[in-house]
Amino acid sequence: MARNPNDHPDQPRVGEGRLDRRGFLKHGATLAAVTTPAVAQATQVGGDLPWLHVPGQPFSGYGQPSPHERYTARRIGANRAVAGNGVSFTPLEDLEGTITPNGLHFERHHNGVPQIDPAQHRLVVHGRVRQPLSFDVKSLLRYPMRSQLLFIECGGNSNAGWHAEPIQRPAGSVHGLVSCAEWTGVPLSILLDEAGVDPGASWVIAEGADAGAMNMSIPLGKMRDDCLIGLYQNGERLRPENGYPMRLIVPGWEGVLHVKWLQRLEVADQPVMSRNETSKYTELLPSGKARQFTFTMGCKSLITTPSHGQTLRQPDVYQISGLAWSGHGRISRVEVSADNGRHWSDAALQSPALPRCFTRFRLPWRWDGKPAVLKSRATDEAGNVQPERAALIAERGRAGYFHYHAIVAWAVEDDGLVSHIY
């Protein structure tokens, strides 16, 4: 923990916008005393609550969230001319922990969600192989499987960060093209071995069964190393909007490679140079050259509470909570600043911190009622440190559109309102 030599650990930092976890712990009793009357009041109200006196609802075949949580929903940004072309964002600021519920996993579709009958779906492995093979869904369900908790992040997530002015939207509506789930499926290496890959092959072109048969090239080495034919998402079969009956899982790499509704894998000696790996998902640099095949998602973090649009009601202790993730491996450290990056304190990482997976970080913070700027900064096990926005732009310019992973700053005004600033 970065510490000013003048700091005394027994004193919570009040009035300077600083953080001190040890200081909070010593004074935690104060918070408990404050909350006791509210609990007592709730119990008194409970005596007249109707659900204590009438039978509840019957069983349900598939459970749904409470109607009181109906506003916890994906926010949709779609093309007006083509309803199935666009995105929906995970409402990150409304969620806790690390698992994204299946109904809230972000979506990016190019031309809608195909309604696939699994009995008619096939996965074909072909190209530079000894024997082209076709697999039906029932057959794939008999293969050895592996489960892995992984984030998937769209390469275009957080792209408003490149704008000249900070966008004023909820955290999830800017940064919510990332979600985290347990994905279960068949290691792709098994199917590649069954088809028998030619020694000269170096790429695999994956293709979906959506309207447009979207295709992307992925290096064969990655496919062999840790990619899955994903069949289950958080324990249940994939949702249609996440690729039912099967999608590619490419741990830590950009979302567009996790081809949904996967129907063909062509083993090749070169990339296909599809539209989405040339004119899109490439990052134009100030030099006029463009970065291509930028697969690994950068080391990144985001404070989800407090965040844009939320209000701190009065000076008090608040729980800073957020998410960190890196396509390079495990998150090893998240630091939080309440004074716009002048001082940083280590947040507690929720264990286990898994590679290429959301890691929840938390830190109590005593807000003194004065303006403050909250930031989080992630470091991964490979030593990558999340950059400040100015540093990222100095390196990449502002026309790259994809792979924005800079530090996000939330300003807390003296009235408690939280907004986005640069």
Partner: protein
């Protein structure tokens, strides 16, 4: 694989005698449930078109025919001349790629002409993807390349011409994580 079984038995015996770690079980193979696919089926299904032209079907299309097809299928979203619509700007780049607000059109940005065929055949028109004939896709590719000033108005596009066309931004990409 007799030697392998002997090895496993030996390892098990060693473990029993020494009381140490459980030996690895013999490797269990995955089932082999893939069904062979014939070459004819693959040719009929495969949509990938590579930069060297592999995957391009026979057929041809003119710039003039492409103009008619573009007006019918594409101009509604992309604009009459391939710009100024609600969808991607396809033509008419004026700001170069090193400009902060660069125009990334087919002519200014796309590195390979074969990508046009690959993408149009599989994904266009958006209301009915995969319904254009090979001749129609060649014609649309021809018109788009002509509208970007890359081929003459009387060009008839086919597999050989499309694969041979060198796009202006062919060398504009840095392959960051490619093998």
């Amino acid at each position: 694989m007799d030697w392998f079984r002997i090895f496993i038995k030996g390892a098990a015996l060693t473990a029993l005698l020494t009381g140490c770690a459980t030996p690895l079980p013999p490797r269990i193979e995955a089932p082999k449930l893939g069904t062979p696919v014939t070459a004819d089926t693959l040719i009929a299904q495969t949509l990938n078109v590579f930069p060297d032209g592999r995957g391009l079907p026979s057929g041809q299309g003119s710039v003039a025919e492409g103009a008619r097809l573009f007006a019918r299928h594409c101009a509604g979203c992309h604009g009459k001349d391939g710009r100024g619509g609600t969808a991607e700007e396809l033509t008419g780049a004026s700001r170069p790629l090193d400009h902060p607000a660069a125009d990334k059109t087919i002519g200014s940005y796309w590195p390979y002409a074969t990508t046009l065929f690959d993408f149009i055949r599989r994904a266009k028109p958006m209301g009915a993807p995969g319904t254009l004939s090979a001749d129609e896709v060649y014609a649309l590719s021809a018109w788009l390349l002509h509208a970007n000033g890359l081929i003459a108005a009387d060009t008839v596009m086919d597999a050989a011409r499309l694969a041979a066309l060198r796009m202006p931004n062919r060398d504009g990409f840095l392959r960051i994580e490619a093998p």
